[in-house]
Amino acid sequence: MLTEFGKIFIFFLLGIGLVAAGLVTAWLLRPARPYPEKRATYECGEEPIGSPWVRLNVRFYIIALIFLIFDVEVVFLFPWALVYRNLGLFGLFEMVVFLGILFVGYAYVWAKGDLSWDKPTPQIPTLHSRVHFSEGDLQTPSEQRR
């Protein structure tokens, strides 16, 4: 009839139900007088500048990729851990090999510096040209006018 996972489904539905019940109660009680200023994006009190969907730091993706690898590896560890005490020495060596392969990858990622979140050092472009520039040539028009 009702399996154990069915009971978990009931928990999910109850979680949704509580939020729904709360919001319906609030909907009956609360005022609703919106006007444009109220419905504007708050952000930090000032008028927002530019699109909110900004370009993101690429490190978020790297972290996600590393997480994926480790998470899959942990999933493989679980069945082994559950029967570990019946496997004995064989189980230990099996897992030392498995973890060893993983550890090579881990050391590689560490050495490449993908685990650290340091800021990249800015590279200021320099101009290599055979043409000789005098001081005034590199000034902007507004500076020249001054």
Binding site: F5, A40, F67, V74
Partner: protein, 354 residues
């Protein structure tokens, strides 16, 4: 008339589904009461740490303040920003709270009560934690706000990074106990404080002393990771108010805003309860058979979890916030390698003993 009512109730109780729903509602009632208690505790503890008194006006020492806050949030106008993604914006609180409430299904409150007695209990708990991440990302993305988006992404990066230490700590416990069902892990540690896994588990003295340092380290790591999982100071980068206003729920107001808080406090209990059932004996009494039994079980389980929650509150109001790079450093370069060491050491000890 009374007989009909009695018959009706009996008929209801004969229905499996009705009983299951009633049993699943009990944790929901608990979550609401517990959240009010912890809100009050947190404000009072914070105030006394900072040499203030916190609220004193509503009721005796301000004890009715959480209820007043709840009523206030219920009566607040609900604002959805014009430019927000309306559907995702509305769905996000549901996903977040449903994810954190589903985790209560596998918590063994006492020896006779567990929502769903599945073999993968602790594993499911981690999975439902990932659903919360999805909800937070939805909230951050749909708000049409730079700070919300950054907060949501930080939260996702942080929660997935600290999921690895949590899962590895679980693997170590699974190796020792041979089970992932939190009820069975608790039963394994039953019989007094010396049998708890934090003190090496119910083994002969020599094995116990060998295991003790590693289980202790694992417990501490799990505790640190659990603070990060619920996004609290010193790991509260997703809602760092000095940088990101209020993080992923800046644009929310009224009860939707409150739902994120409710979910955060529910999560706080879940991670504390996970640490308790894995390492601190769950519902089992610290004095062996004295003061044990189903009712005392609830008392022990909730009070142990509450002590851990208090500890997290203490940490929150003591330490400053970490930077993002420090956060990643702690997770990937400190906690994970230590857990690999513990994993291999525990494995070697278990093999050499048997």
């Amino acid at each position: 008339m009374i007989e009909t009512v009695q018959q009706f109730i009996l008929a209801l109780l004969a229905n499996e589904l009705v009983v299951a729903v009633i049993l699943s509602v009990l944790p929901l009632v608990f979550v609401i009461i517990y959240t009010l208690v912890v809100l009050y505790t947190e404000m009072k503890v914070a105030a006394h740490i900072q040499d203030r008194v916190a609220y004193m006006m509503t009721g005796w020492h301000g004890i009715l303040q959480p209820i007043a806050d709840m009523i206030k949030l219920l009566l607040k106008e609900d604002i959805i920003p014009e430019k927000a993604d309306r559907i995702l914006f509305r769905v996000a609180p549901y996903v977040t709270f449903a994810g954190s409430y589903a985790a209560f299904a596998v918590l063994p409150f006492t020896s006779i009560y567990i929502g769903a007695n599945i073999h993968l209990g602790a594993f499911f708990l981690i999975a439902s934690g990932s659903i919360v991440v999805v909800g937070i990302l939805m909230a951050g993305w749909s708000s049409n706000n730079k700070w919300s988006l950054l907060g949501g992404l930080r939260s996702a990066a942080q929660m997935v990074s600290y999921e690895i230490p949590t899962a590895l700590a679980l693997v170590i416990v699974a190796m020792i106990t041979g089970s992932l069902n939190l009820q069975e892990i608790t039963k394994f540690q039953d019989g007094g404080i010396h049998n708890w896994l934090i003190f090496g588990g119910p083994f002969p003295l020599k094995t116990k002393l060998l295991l003790l340092p590693f289980t202790l380290i694992t417990f501490i790591i799990l505790f640190v990771a659990s603070i990060a999982e619920v996004n609290r100071t010193p790991f509260d980068l997703p809602e760092a108010e000095s940088e990101l206003v209020q993080g992923f729920f800046t644009e929310y107001s009224g009860l939707r805003f409150a739902m994120f808080y409710l979910s955060e406090y529910a999560n706080l209990f879940v991670v504390s309860a996970l640490s308790v059932s894995l390492f601190l004996g769950g519902w089992s009494s610290p004095f062996g058979s004295v003061l044990s039994g189903p009712v005392w079980g609830i008392f022990w389980f909730v009070s142990k979890a509450y002590v851990l929650v208090l500890l997290q509150i203490w940490v929150r109001w003591t330490l400053p916030r970490l930077r993002v790079d420090q956060l990643m450093y702690v997770s990937w370069k400190v906690l994970t390698p230590w857990l690999f060491v513990c994993l291999l050491a525990v494995g070697a000890i278990l093999v050499s003993v048997e």
